[in-house]
C-alpha cells in the first residue's frame, strides 16, 4: 500500500517538519498567547471597572477584531504597517497580529470570569480595608483566572493551528515548511497527513498541560 519511497520521505521529512513546529509554530502561539492574556486582563478590567472613554475604546477594539477575519488582519498588517513606516520581520508581525486578535476574544472570557466572582468578595475586601486594586490582585483576578483558564487554553490550542495562516505573510512555519517539502517531492497527501499528525501531537501535549495547570491553580478545596 505505502510505497517504499513514500515511507522514506515521511521518515526523512518528520524531523524537518517538527523542527519548524518547535522553532516557529509553538513559539509564535505561545508568545502571542501570553501577551494576549496580559492584554485581555487590561481590556477586561477597564470594562469591569467601567472606566469612561477607555471602556468605549475597548468595546470598539473588540468589535473590530471579532468582526474581521484573522487572515484579513494579517494581510492588513503585512501591507499596511510598512506604509506607516513600521518595518519588521514577518514573525514579529505575526506575533503582534495574533496577540491583538486573541486579546479581543480572551478579553471577553476574562470579563465574564470576573463578573462571575460574587459581588460580596469585593465588598468583603473593602470591609477589611483593602483598596480596589488590592482586591483585584488578591481576590478577583485569581478567582477569575481560575474560571477562565480552560477557555483561555481552548484559545491557545486553537491558535496553535491558526498559526498556519501566518504562512500567508511569508512566515515559514510548520505548515509552510511541509508545503515546501511536498512541492519538491510531488507527494502531497502523505506529507499533509504527517503535518496533521504533528499538530495533533502538539495539541495532545497542550491538553495534558491544561489538566496539570488546572490542578496547579487549585480548586480551593471545592473539587478534590
Amino acid at each position: 500500500m505505502l510505497e517504499q519511497s513514500t515511507i522514506e520521505l515521511l521518515v526523512s521529512s518528520f524531523p524537518k517538519i517538527l523542527e519548524y513546529g518547535l522553532k516557529v509554530t509553538l513559539p509564535l502561539a505561545t508568545i502571542a498567547f501570553i501577551l494576549s492574556t496580559i492584554l485581555s486582563v487590561f481590556v477586561a478590567m477597564v470594562q469591569y471597572a467601567n472606566v469612561p472613554v477607555l471602556r468605549q475604546f475597548c468595546r470598539f477594539y473588540i468589535w473590530i477584531i471579532r468582526g474581521t477575519p484573522l487572515l484579513v488582519q494579517l494581510m492588513v498588517a503585512f501591507y499596511g504597517l510598512p506604509l506607516l513606516g513600521i518595518h519588521s520581520n514577518p514573525f514579529l508581525m505575526a506575533v503582534i497580529v495574533f496577540t491583538i486578535n486573541e486579546g479581543a476574544y480572551s478579553a471577553e472570557t476574562m470579563r465574564a470570569a470576573m463578573e462571575a466572582v460574587s459581588a460580596g468578595q469585593m465588598e468583603a475586601g473593602y470591609c477589611v480595608g483593602m483598596g480596589y486594586m488590592q482586591i483585584m490582585w488578591h481576590i478577583i483576578l485569581p478567582q477569575a483566572f481560575r474560571t477562565a483558564f480552560p477557555s483561555l487554553f481552548n484559545s491557545l490550542i486553537s491558535m496553535v493551528k491558526d498559526t498556519s495562516l501566518a504562512s500567508s505573510i511569508t512566515v515559514v512555519e510548520m505548515f509552510t515548511r511541509t508545503k515546501q517539502i511536498a512541492g519538491q517531492s510531488y507527494n502531497y497527501l502523505p506529507l499533509y497527513l504527517e503535518v496533521a499528525l504533528v499538530y495533533l501531537i502538539f495539541c495532545t501535549v497542550l491538553t495534558y498541560i491544561q489538566g496539570r495547570g488546572e490542578m496547579l491553580l487549585g480548586s480551593y478545596g471545592i473539587r478534590k
Binding site: V128, G131, Y220
Partner: protein
C-alpha cells in the same frame, strides 16, 4: 461622646424610599440589636453606615469626626473602614484564600503589617472563635457556622472600634446559629461595640444592651433591651413582638 452617631440618613433605590431619615447613637461598648420585618431597611442602614451603599444624604459622626454622607471622599471612607469590621449574612470569605489568609489579608495587604506578626494576630483571633485548627482549610471545606466564625475572626483581626453584623445567622440552622451567637456573646462580654441586624429575638433580649425596632424605613421604637421587651410602647412594636412570640 458617642463612638458613632448618624443623623437623618435617607436612601432611595429608584423610586422606593428605603430609609426615611434615620437617627442613631452608639456609645462605646454598646451592643445594639436592630430588629424589624423584612424590607424595613435594617440591612440598608448598616450598609450605608459602612458605605457599601451610598446614602442620598445624612451625617455620620465617627470617633469625634463628622462626615457628610452625600459627599464623603474615598480617603475618608477608607479611614473609617480601617476602624470598623463587617460580618455578612452569607459570610463572603475570600474563596481563593485559606482561613488563615482570610484573616491576615486585611493586615498584610491593607495595613502592611509583616506576615509573621499578622499570622500571630490571626491565630489569636482564630482561637478566640474556636477555628485555629482549621487555619489551612479553604472556606468551601467548612460548615456555614465555621465560615461565619472565621468571618468574625477576620473582622476582629484589624482591631476595629465597632463591628457591624448583617443578619449573621440568617443562613444557618439552629445548631450552627447557636455556635455563632456564642462567639458574639463572648465579644459582647469583652466589651466590643457591635451593631447587629438580626432576627434572633433571644440574642437581642439576652445579649444586647439596646434594641432598635425599624419598619418601613424608619425607627419605630428604641430603648434599652429590658425596657423594650418588657414594656413596648408602640402598637407596631407590640404587634411585631406578639407575632414573633416574644
Amino acid at each position: 461622646m458617642s463612638l458613632l452617631e448618624v443623623k437623618n440618613i435617607h436612601k432611595t433605590f429608584g423610586t422606593t424610599q428605603v430609609l426615611r431619615g434615620i437617627d442613631l447613637k452608639i456609645e462605646k461598648g454598646d451592643v445594639v440589636s436592630i430588629l424589624g420585618p423584612s424590607g424595613s431597611g435594617k440591612t440598608t442602614l448598616l450598609r450605608c453606615i459602612n458605605f457599601l451603599e451610598k446614602a442620598d444624604n445624612g451625617e455620620l459622626i465617627f470617633d469625634g469626626k463628622s462626615y457628610d454622607l452625600s459627599k464623603i471622599s474615598k480617603a475618608e471612607i477608607s479611614g473609617i473602614r480601617n476602624n470598623t469590621g463587617f460580618v455578612f449574612q452569607n459570610y463572603n470569605l475570600f474563596a481563593n484564600k485559606t482561613v488563615l489568609q482570610n484573616v491576615t489579608l486585611g493586615l498584610t495587604a491593607a495595613r502592611h503589617i509583616p506576615h509573621k506578626e499578622a499570622d500571630m494576630k490571626a491565630y489569636e483571633v482564630l482561637s478566640r472563635v474556636g477555628m485555629k485548627d482549621h487555619a489551612s482549610a479553604y472556606p468551601s471545606q467548612l460548615s456555614g457556622g465555621q465560615q461565619q466564625r472565621v468571618a468574625i475572626a477576620r473582622a476582629l483581626a484589624t482591631n476595629p472600634k465597632i463591628i457591624y453584623f448583617d443578619e449573621p445567622t440568617s443562613a444557618l440552622d439552629p445548631q450552627l446559629t447557636a455556635e455563632v451567637l456564642e462567639v458574639m456573646r463572648g465579644l459582647a462580654e469583652d466589651g466590643m461595640t457591635m451593631i447587629v441586624v438580626t432576627h434572633e429575638i433571644g440574642f437581642a433580649k439576652d445579649v444586647s444592651s439596646k434594641v432598635v425596632f425599624m419598619a418601613d424605613g424608619g425607627i419605630i421604637e428604641e430603648g434599652n433591651s429590658n425596657e423594650f421587651f418588657d414594656n413596648p410602647k408602640q402598637p407596631r412594636t407590640r404587634e411585631f413582638l406578639r407575632l414573633t412570640n416574644s
